[in-house]
């Protein structure tokens, strides 16, 4: 017993806790009920009996004070129920005081009175709390210790003592009629004790009726249920004031109609608390149970001020209804179903692990909930007979605030409809939020429907597991994300009006047209630009054709410019048979101009008997050089042969770097001529004497490119020393080359520019090219075409200026206009 006193078994999780604790250290459930803790301060110094005094309802404390019974051996301090005060009716007294050794389950008859005892006995032997049986020496009443629901002082102790061990001895009617709850501080729920008492009372009444005896007024511990019921009805010590705060109880239902006889057999109607009778408004409609009519339900006469807790009333009546719905399956002893189920073998006995919430009804609170539901069903259905409800009806909704509530809570719940009405009226004053039309149109239809659907689903969904099993409208323990449910696919369908649809179609069309390639406009075969180009070509070509056809040479050649004069002077100053380095660096496209521009110079050099060493920085240069020599020689009837009179040294690679290297070592860069034999002309006369570029008598560069001319000037001219450098350039390169001629150092000593320079050259030396050089031939055509070109440019300028002025005037006039 000492060991038992030092340990407490949690009624929720069943784990062993220290006796000094009030709250289970594993599940945080209360180990010691507040009421029990208050009433047993001496037996267990460590008990927390005085801790919850403040939280105990006055009515309960008053009841307790009036329900003090002499303690028996079953009175324990830890977590057990404390005896009621003397004034507390038996039904409120602790059933544990009646003795845990004996079964206190009252039955309708002598055999029915043993139902509670057999229940407890079975629990002792094979119940789910078999493991939690108290150690040896500990009274059965002390086990399991009384516990209360956390934070709820009105929770009957029967919940905590449901697995309390009972003594195997069968209860006797006399024993059952006793009401020892007040004196037995057992861990037995009050309600169970009360029910037991009631049963005992009924049983005793039945037996007495059968035997012609009256039901003892004071049931013993085993008849505590009937006893407390009887006491409740006639006990003046009941704190009516406290009870008046409890739920309202109709008083029109006679006790005979109560079906409480089913599980309170033998209990006379007088023994049934009036509150139980009057707690159910539909009591008159309760179908008569299959209980012999001789068994009258204890009459409960209770004034308007006497009110029993609704939870208790609902407990009794609901159970009566539930049992009335079905054929009462009682055993030989007349046990109701809910108790009979407890006698069935528990799955725990078989070692089968049953998920929480799916245990046998007797091991959970489902049977209690059934009573509540039955009560609720009756209350909601109004006058519907109880038989309409089926026993196997699925538990759809269980209000957590019905059946097991203390009176004050149930009273509040009873007033809920009115409160709802009031809230509805309040809600009427509050207008729902009005969404703007554009926002309303954006709401996905399916999402809103799903939200509503899910909300309704939650309201009707009944929790099937956990401590809240059977309750309706409970927030799911599992988050939505953990539910194995495929998320719905929302179709983004907006509420689009007609005007919006039209606008959307327009926008879509615009976007589509942007991506589509635009069809190009058909170009005419003959366009204005094409005609204009042909006109210009004809304008330029016709004078040339006419001049070529007529062989016109009427236009005088230009005067001799200084640069051409210097060139001719330099050439005239050359000795006979000079060694000339001739660089042919123009492109084939302008070979006509270059040949015409250089013919006079080359002709003069040929007249001098000069040996021409030709090089080129262009790969096509050697070919052009060959053609130039052949053309000039053939025009002027010079007999210039390869290698003997001239040497084509070929191509100088590397651009400016190659010219620099050529200026350093010309023999290494161009060792051989491009003749079929690849003659090494540097070993032959007159080139044998030339070891460097300064050994040449003259360096003449023929180029149409200003860059090439600059490269020759920059790379080669510094190494020429006194050797003159003359250049025959194209008209397009003249602006870039002339500054070198005008430089103070005279980097270019002679300059012949295009056809004009050659014409002047020919004009100065009429003995050149037999008096009719190419410049002379082309000069008239050149002059005519150049004149036409100039006229075309002038006309174009005038037209452009005129058009620009007209456009500007139109724009200014348009701006001035309002």
């Amino acid at each position: 017993m000492a060991a038992e006193m030092s340990e407490l078994r949690c009624p929720m999780c069943g784990k062993i806790n220290s006796a000094e604790l009030d709250i289970c250290q594993f599940c945080q459930a209360r180990l010691v009920p507040i009421r029990a803790a208050e009433q047993t301060p001496a037996s267990d110094p460590g008990a927390n009996s005085a801790k919850d005094d403040s939280s105990i309802d006055d009515w309960l404390s008053s009841l307790r004070s009036s329900d003090e019974h002499p303690a028996d051996e079953n009175v324990e301090a830890e977590g057990h129920q404390e005896p009621f005060d003397a004034g507390v009716p038996d039904w409120l007294q602790d059933d544990s005081q009646a003795g845990a050794q004996e079964s206190r389950v009252p039955t309708a008859d002598a055999s029915g009175a043993d139902w509670l005892g057999s229940l407890l006995q079975r629990e002792e032997e094979t119940g789910p709390l078999a493991e939690g049986l108290p150690p040896e020496g500990q009274a059965a009443e002390d086990w399991p210790p009384t516990s209360q629901l956390p934070g709820d002082d009105s929770i009957p102790e029967w919940l905590s003592q449901i697995g309390k061990q009972e003594q195997p001895s069968e209860p006797t009617p006399s024993d059952e009629a006793q009401a020892p709850e007040a004196n037995v501080p057992e861990a037995r729920p009050d309600w169970l004790s009360r029910i037991r008492s009631l049963r005992i009372a009924e049983a005793s009444t039945a037996t007495e009726v059968a035997a012609g005896e009256e039901t003892p007024a004071q049931p013993d511990a085993e008849d505590s249920v009937s006893a407390w019921l009887a006491e409740l009805r006639g006990d003046e010590a009941v704190n009516v004031e406290d009870l008046s705060t409890l739920a309202e109880l109709p008083q029109e239902t006679p006790a005979e109609e109560l079906a409480v006889e089913e599980f309170l057999p033998g209990e006379s109607a007088d023994q049934i608390p009036a509150r139980i009778e009057q707690s159910t408004p539909v009591q008159p409609e309760i179908a008569a149970p299959a209980v012999p009519e001789e068994k009258e339900a204890p009459e409960i006469t209770q004034g308007p001020e006497d009110q029993i807790p609704d939870w208790l009333a609902g407990l009794v009546t609901g159970k009566a209804i539930a049992s009335g719905m079905t054929k009462v399956e009682t055993d030989a002893e007349g046990l109701p179903d809910w108790l009979a189920d407890l006698e069935k073998s528990s799955t725990l006995d078989q070692g089968v692990i049953v998920p929480f919430g799916e245990e046998e009804p007797g091991l959970t609170f489902d049977w209690l909930q059934e009573q509540v539901r039955a009560d609720q069903r009756l209350s909601t259905s109004g006058k519907q007979p109880a038989a309409e409800a089926q026993p196997g009806e699925a538990i759809e909704s269980i209000s957590p605030f019905e059946g097991d509530l203390s009176d004050f809570l149930e009273e509040g719940y009873a007033k809920a409809p009115r409160a709802e009405v009031a809230s509805g009226e309040t809600e009427a004053e509050l207008r729902p939020a009005e969404l703007p039309t554009w926002l309303e149109a954006m709401r996905p239809i399916e999402a809103a429907a799903f939200a509503l659907l899910s909300e309704s689903e939650r309201e009707t969904q009944v929790e099937s597991s956990g401590p809240l099993a059977g309750l309706r409208g409970v927030l799911p323990a599992e988050p939505d994300i953990a539910r194995m449910k495929k998320p719905p696919a929302y179709a983004l369908r907006l509420q689009v009006s007609d005007s919006q649809q039209v606008s959307a179609d327009l926008l879509e069309g615009l976007v589509k047209t942007e991506a589509e390639p635009k069809a190009l406009p058909e170009r005419p075969v003959i366009s204005s630009q094409y005609i204009f180009r042909l006109v210009i070509f004809a304008a330029l070509l016709l004078p040339i054709i006419w001049a070529a056809f007529t062989r016109s040479q009427n236009i005088p050649l230009p005067a001799l410019p200084q640069e051409v004069f210097d060139t001719t002077s330099l050439i005239n100053a050359l000795p006979d048979n000079p060694l000339i380095l001739l660089a042919v660096d123009y492109e084939p496209g302008l070979s006509g101009e270059m040949q015409a521009a250089s013919s006079a110079l080359i002709d003069q050099l040929m007249l001098k008997g000069a040996y021409l060493a030709m090089v080129s920085t262009s790969p096509n240069g050697p070919a052009l050089a060959e053609g130039l020599i052949r053309n000039v020689a053939g025009r002027s009837a010079h007999q210039y042969q390869d290698i003997n009179q001239y040497a084509n040294l070929g191509f100088i690679p590397g651009g400016p770097a190659g010219l620099a290297s050529f200026a350093e070592a010309p023999r290494k860069i161009t060792p051989y001529a491009l003749d079929p034999e690849s003659t090494y002309v540097w070993g032959r006369e007159p080139m044998q004497a030339a070891t460097q570029l300064s050994d040449f008598n003259l360096v003449a560069v023929l180029t149409d490119n200003a860059d090439k001319a600059r490269a020759w000037i920059e790379q080669v001219q510094p190494s020429l020393e006194s050797t003159p450098l003359v250049m025959v350039v194209s008209a397009q390169a003249e602006p870039m080359v002339r500054p070198y001629y005008y430089s103070s150092e005279k980097q270019v000593q002679g300059l012949v520019v295009g056809l004009a320079g050659s014409g002047a050259y020919e004009n100065a030396h009429r003995d050149l090219v037999s008096g009719s050089g190419p410049a002379r031939q082309y000069w008239d055509a050149f002059s005519y075409s150049l004149l036409v070109a100039a006229m075309l440019v002038a006309v174009g300028v005038v037209i452009n200026l005129t058009a620009s002025g007209i456009a500007a005037r139109k724009q200014s006039v348009g701006e001035k206009k309002p």
Partner: protein, 234 residues
Amino acid sequence: MNLAEMGMPDLVGTLLGFALTLMVFSYAFGDNALFRVTIHLFIGVAAGYAAVVAWYNVVWPQLLLPIIGGSQSERLFVLFPLVLSGLLIFKASPRLSRIGNPAIAYLVGVGVAAAIGGAVMGTIFPQVLASINLFDAEAIRQSGESPLLMLLQGVIIVIGTLTSLIYFHFGVKPKLGGTPRRPEWMEVLALVGQVFIAITLGAVFAGVLTASLSALIERVYFIGDIIFPLFTAP
């Protein structure tokens, strides 16, 4: 030009040239296949001729011949360009192009050095000196020209030179809260420089036109020399 007096090679060449010239002239009527054929033909012939010249004028005599028949010193001298030429070949492969980077680097380095050195010594310094000498009294006197005219000419040249250089100056100081702009005096001088630059570009355009006309005239005369004798009495 008398076709009858030409030999067969010259005759074929002349006629071929005549046809190709006409094909080129067909571009005046728009892009066509004849013009494209002529262009492609010219590019092919030019490339082939360049390859032959490069081989006979550069590779064979300067790279391979010294190795084959040259002396020891010549071979050693040729070894360096031979190695660089071998590395340059790897530039043809995208994967192995990195191997030819040393040769490219050498070529670029030498070319840039030659260009920069020539530009500085051959162009900038002489031209600056020439600009200075425009105001040399002795030179003006020796030229025999009117000194005032020479001075005016010198001033114009200097102004044109300076303003053209100022036009190409785009460096400005950063300005907080505004768009960076050149100073006003610089903007005025740049505008003057724009005038000189425009005149220069006009002159260049005129030279190009002149050169093109000269080329056209030569070709027309070539065609005329072939066609006109056919219509004239011998």
